[in-house]
């Protein structure tokens, strides 16, 4: 055996089960209890439950002798609406004696609903709503005046386009859903809401279109979501990792987008979307390999242009994966496969470089990745100067100092530019890692290694599934109908079916006849 078996861990006294039991969320898993009818009892319970929560505001109002308790969280509510819609009407009630039904009818300027249990009350307060409790009632009123802090809708920054809509999602779930509803004005567009996260209780929406999406797909989504029991789900990537089909693969099996128009397009294909409160992106499943090489812009320009751009993008993808490794393999193993003039040029360039090609490649690629990372992490103003210093000055100086060959700089820069040409950021990141693996293999076994590793990658890609749909779908289980929107985009009038791999209930998406202008002269019959 190479490694000794590890001894059992020393007992960690800090992790004693009883100690933990005292700290875990007490409301979770405990049966829900009804609210007390007296305000004193309620107030005592709330003060105990929300102890040390100084952002909670408790306000007791005396309405003609009846005690009314108001509570909300500062900053989560619209202060003006609390004044106008809640406090003013309550304090100017004309009637001497009041009850909950009367209050509900008086407070009509805001959305009102009733709750009966303590957990519902907690949830409402956390959501930034005003809770109104009145003496003598076992119910509380929830007044929706929430206005959680957040930014307004801005231009999509991760997936920018020149043509087409520019809106991008923000961190506010309701606003995001409204952006989608604006585009599908139909009751068939379903938004199923649920809460996930033991502490965070984040609002999650499952989006699909009834009558198009396969019901089993929605059911599968429900099943996967039901299993989630984690402290908090604040980000779409957390959700993605928790419900992923192939958790260990480098290739993403779900698509993340910040553009409402892309989400709508996906929903109309028969896919489903997940949106989380606080995440400015939507997760689309099932997702195929081909989706990562399509951009929103492809649908906003003429289909002939799309053909050119998409072919270019596919070339760029494979270049970003293979370019450095092919260079290494050609220079260290397979010199006979280069044209003679190229070999002569390369040999004269590489003369006097102290590193073998593989090391040179890893060095330059590592430097490039570090620069890329520095450019993203630094404040924007500094980031630009970093990229200028890195690319222009360091690169040029390294060539002049004879540490790297100019050819290698070109190849690494070309790889970087090729990866910048790809529209899906998460996908590009996976290709950055695979590119290193390819270079390593090329340094060990040359072109043969690249071919073998490429076959392994292809086999892996073919074996992947996303929510039961083959990852390479229109290509690997080949379908001519679906290939119409892959390497090229057929014109809209020719694209009549939804992708077959999603097994949609209604497979026809387009019943428009192809445009056939009459072959008649505007001058009259027979005249030209």
């Amino acid at each position: 055996m190479l490694f000794k078996k590890r001894g059992t861990k020393t007992k960690d006294l800090g992790n004693h089960p009883e100690r933990i039991a005292g700290l875990v969320d007490t409301s979770y898993g405990r049966p829900d209890e009804p609210l007390p009818s007296r305000v004193e009892g309620l107030r005592a319970w709330i003060e105990a439950e929300w102890q040390h929560c100084d952002d909670l505001l408790l306000r007791e109002v005396d309405v003609h002798g009846t005690r009314v308790l108001l509570l909300w969280i500062r900053g989560m509510v619209d202060q003006a609406r609390v004044e106008e819609g809640v406090l003013n009407p309550v304090s100017t009630l004309p009637k001497r004696r009041t009850d909950i039904g009367h209050l509900e009818s008086v407070l009509h300027t805001v959305h009102v609903r009733r709750v009966k249990t303590r957990q519902e009350l907690n949830a409402a307060v956390s959501d930034g709503q005003v809770v109104l409790c009145i003496d003598g009632s076992k119910e509380a009123l929830i007044l929706d005046v929430s206005q959680p802090p957040g930014r307004t809708i801005e231009k999509a920054e991760i997936e920018p386009t020149i043509l087409g809509p520019q809106e991008g999602f923000v961190e506010n779930l309701e606003l995001n859903i409204a952006l989608l509803r604006k585009r599908i004005r139909s009751p068939r567009f379903k938004v199923e809401s649920m809460r996930i996260g033991v502490y965070s209780k984040t609002n999650l929406c499952i989006l699909y279109i009834e009558g198009i999406t396969k019901p089993a797909l929605v059911e599968e989504a429900h099943q996967r979501l039901r299993k989630i029991s984690i402290d908090a789900v604040n980000d779409i990537n957390k959700l993605r990792e928790l419900i992923s089909d192939a958790p260990y693969t480098l290739f993403p099996t779900s698509e993340e987008t910040e553009r409402p128009d892309r989400v709508v397009a996906g929903l109309l294909q028969g896919r489903i979307g997940f949106m989380l409160d606080g995440a400015p992106t939507c997760l689309k499943v099932p997702t195929q390999f081909i989706h990562f090489l399509t951009a929103a812009e492809d649908y906003y320009m003429h289909f002939t242009l799309t053909l050119f751009i998409r072919v270019l993008r596919h070339v760029a993808y494979w270049a970003s994966l293979l370019l450095p490794s092919l260079y290494v393999a050609l220079l260290s193993f397979n010199q006979d496969l280069m044209p003679t003039p190229l070999l002569v040029t390369v040999a004269s360039q590489h003369r006097g470089i102290p590193f073998p090609t593989i090391l040179e490649a890893l060095l330059m690629m590592g430097a490039f990745e570090v620069l890329r990372e520095a450019g993203t992490r630094l404040p924007r103003a500094v980031g630009q100067s970093v990229s200028i210093v890195g690319t222009l000055i360091v690169g040029d100086a390294a060539v002049r100092a004879g540490l790297v060959s100019p050819g290698m700089v070109i190849v690494v820069a070309g790889t970087g530019v090729a990866s910048f040409a790809l529209p899906a950021y998460g996908f590009v990141n996976s290709s950055r890692i695979i590119q290193f693996l390819f270079v390593g293999i090329a340094g060990l076994a040359g072109l043969v290694g690249i071919v073998v590793f490429g076959l392994i990658i292809v086999t892996h890609l073919v074996s992947l599934r996303s929510f039961g749909v083959p990852y390479m779908a229109p290509i690997a289980p080949f379908s001519w109908q679906d290939i119409k929107d892959s390497f090229f985009r057929a014109p809209w009038f020719a694209n009549t079916k939804r992708p077959g791999q999603y097994e949609t209930l209604d497979s026809v998406s387009n019943r428009t006849p192809a445009p056939r202008p009459p072959n008649k002269s505007h001058l009259g019959e027979g005249k030209r």
Partner: protein, 405 residues
């Protein structure tokens, strides 16, 4: 449990990676290679083989970026090293003891045979060149009447690399007729064909020490028999295959005799039909060519008659040249015209009967030529300037000699 599994996998990966790395594999860095571009093969007086290797000198290869760095031009773009051995492979092997870095033969593009070696037979090189895994079948074989070493040391300005320059030189002629472009696979094919007469291009040095395409060398079997000049090579090409863009210079009668006229054959098509007769075999060579006028005799006017005459003169010239080269080959006893191969493809059974006596039969074979040239355009002008000049200021005659009133 899973953690230890992962560690096992990682350990296995590291071990396999190390085992791959430690022996160094067959990794050969590009800077540890001597890129051999040409091999010259000469015969020494005592019967040994002297191999000249032309190696790229990466320090002096001119490139677009080199002028900036200032360390270029430290000598020639190639190095020439010589080794002697009892065989080519032995001499090539010796380079590894005398020249730093490994000899890399995969990019060899030229093999030059010196006159002495060629006369003793180049078949000694064939097996090695065909068998060794580094050589490509498309390397160019060339014969020189001096030594290969001299040819490979000559300057081929503007091409900095001698081998590339010589190859370009041969290929420029090869564009007109393939026979000049003697790549290894074609030479081998000719060597193995029934005629057994390989044709290898002949490159010599001129007095200024520059390589010049001189024509072709014809081999009897694998032994050098004779050389043909470029004009004779053209005639040989008309006997063998289709040609294109071949220029023909013809003398003029009368006033322009010192200048002559030139016709460019845009393309020619050759068909050779063996005819079996009682008294032996004869060959009917049919050549059809299309041509344009490159230059007209001075004072000549453009007319239908001019075209017809030019066509006739060109055809006669070609026929004469073809007959001359056939006579030369017959006297040398080399069937470079591939008549034997034509006979074999036409009638293999008959060929097998006469193949033993073919050298004698070939020397006696009758060749009938049927050449027809169609001059179909006059390029950009019609009449010559001398014929259209008019001191009285008349308008020049238009088109085919019709004077405009």
């Amino acid at each position: 449990m899973r953690w230890s599994m992962l560690r096992k996998v990682v350990a296995a990966f590291v071990v396999s990676l190390g085992s791959l790395l430690l022996p160094g594999c067959d990794i050969k860095e590009v800077d540890d290679l001597n890129v051999v571009l040409a091999l010259g093969i000469d015969q020494t007086d005592n019967g040994l083989v002297r191999v000249t290797a032309q190696i790229v000198n990466p320090a002096a290869v001119p490139s677009a970026g080199a002028s900036e760095s200032g360390n270029g031009a430290t000598g020639r773009a190639f190095i020439v090293r010589v080794e002697t051995g009892s065989s080519i492979e032995e001499a090539v092997e010796k380079f590894n003891q005398e020249v730093p870095h490994q000899m890399y033969l995969a990019h060899n593009t030229l093999v030059v045979f010196g006159n002495a070696y060629a006369q003793h037979g180049i078949e000694r090189a064939f097996d090695y060149l065909e068998r060794d895994r580094y050589y490509r079948r498309n390397e160019l074989l060339v014969v020189t009447s001096g030594t290969a070493e001299d040819l490979l040391s000559a300057s081929t300005i503007p091409d900095p690399l001698n081998a590339m320059g010589i190859r370009a030189l041969v290929q420029q002629t090869g564009k007109m007729f393939r026979i000049a472009n003697s790549e290894q696979q074609e030479v081998m094919q000719e060597y193995l064909s029934p005629s057994q007469a390989p044709v290898v291009s002949l490159v010599d040095l001129d007095p200024a020490n520059h390589p010049v395409m001189k024509g072709v060398a014809v081999f009897r079997g694998a032994k050098l028999a004779d050389t043909l000049t470029l004009d004779e090579t053209k005639a040989l090409a008309w006997l063998l295959e289709n040609t294109r863009q071949v220029e023909i210079h013809l003398p003029c009668d009368g006033r322009g005799s010192n200048v002559g006229t030139t016709v460019r054959l845009i393309g020619s098509n050759t068909q050779v039909v063996p005819q079996f007769r009682k008294n032996g075999v004869s060959f009917l060579v049919t050549v059809r060519a299309e041509a344009e006028i490159e230059r007209l005799c001075p004072y000549e006017r453009m007319s239908e008659k001019t075209y017809k005459e030019l066509e006739k003169k060109t055809a006669e010239y070609m026929e004469r040249e073809i007959q001359a080269v056939v006579a030369k080959l017959q006297s040398d006893g080399v069937d470079a015209s591939q008549f034997g191969t034509r006979l074999f493809t036409k009638n293999p059974r008959y060929w097998r009967q006469i193949s033993q006596s073919w050298p004698d039969d070939f020397a006696k074979a009758q060749v009938t030529c049927n050449v027809r040239v169609h001059v179909f355009r006059s390029s950009l002008s019609s009449g010559t300037p001398e014929s259209t000049v008019s001191q009285s200021g008349l308008a020049p005659p238009a088109g085919r000699g019709v004077t405009v009133p």
